[in-house]
Symmetry: C2
Subunit: 110 residues, 2 copies
DNA sequence: GCAATAGGATACCTTTTGGTACTATATTAA
DNA sequence: TTAATATAGTACCAAAAGGTATCCTATTGC
């Protein structure tokens, strides 16, 4: 649904959130672990985590009093699926360009 | 540079801007053409176009008093390159999962 | 030249966003 | 059971974002 794709794109629009994803790609982390990596309060980081979660870019599982955050592929898939549409356009543009070049090569006298 | 990737992600974070890109994938358009497709004033659309341009997702060329907006691949490439890093993680996660499954199959007595 | 057309720039308004401080809840360890 | 730990939630604030109205500039056609 449109809601989800919007949440995913929105989540990726902030540099701190993208950085969090990079950290999580190295290892799963608690919110305290993540907060240590930034100059932002835990409450601020928590807001970012909520947004990443709603974009399905991370998921959280509880372990005792800890909550382990880890990467979730669903949001990334949503994004790449949307972008795939443009890859198609991209190819078309490339072949148009190649056609133009080929055309030019055969019409050097015009 | 970090600046550009930020501009590109920011540009994709708004649903109107993503919709504009879809329209432009069908055909190059003037700002008037684009404005016809939305319930937003030309000035509003112009702001979106500026943001898309700074994210290198579109480019503009002047033709007389008209300005033709068209898709630009550089910004899309910036985005997909960033995401490609996670594809790698993705594969690792998948193979970890497969390892775990295989492991489980051989240790059914534990 | 001049009216019409195509578009750019900006001041202004409202809502959203990124951040903090503070408070509250649940689990663990002694 | 109680102090420490790990985290959640919320009220609040400043800045940024999305939108409009208005005004300005440049090209075109007669």
């Amino acid at each position: 649904m449109t809601l989800n794709i919007q949440h995913s794109f929105k989540a990726l629009a902030d540099p701190t959130r993208r950085q969090i994803l990079v950290h999580l790609s190295q290892q799963d982390m608690t919110i305290a672990d993540i907060t240590d990596q930034f100059d932002i309060t835990r409450a601020g980081i928590k807001k970012h985590l909520n947004i990443l979660e709603s974009g399905k870019l991370i998921s959280v599982k509880t372990r005792g009093r800890e909550r382990i955050n880890s990467l979730e592929t669903e949001g990334l898939k949503t994004i790449t699926d949307w972008l795939a549409y443009f890859d198609q356009f991209w190819d078309e543009k490339l072949s148009s360009l190649q056609t133009a070049i080929a055309n030019n090569e055969t019409k050097t006298n015009e």
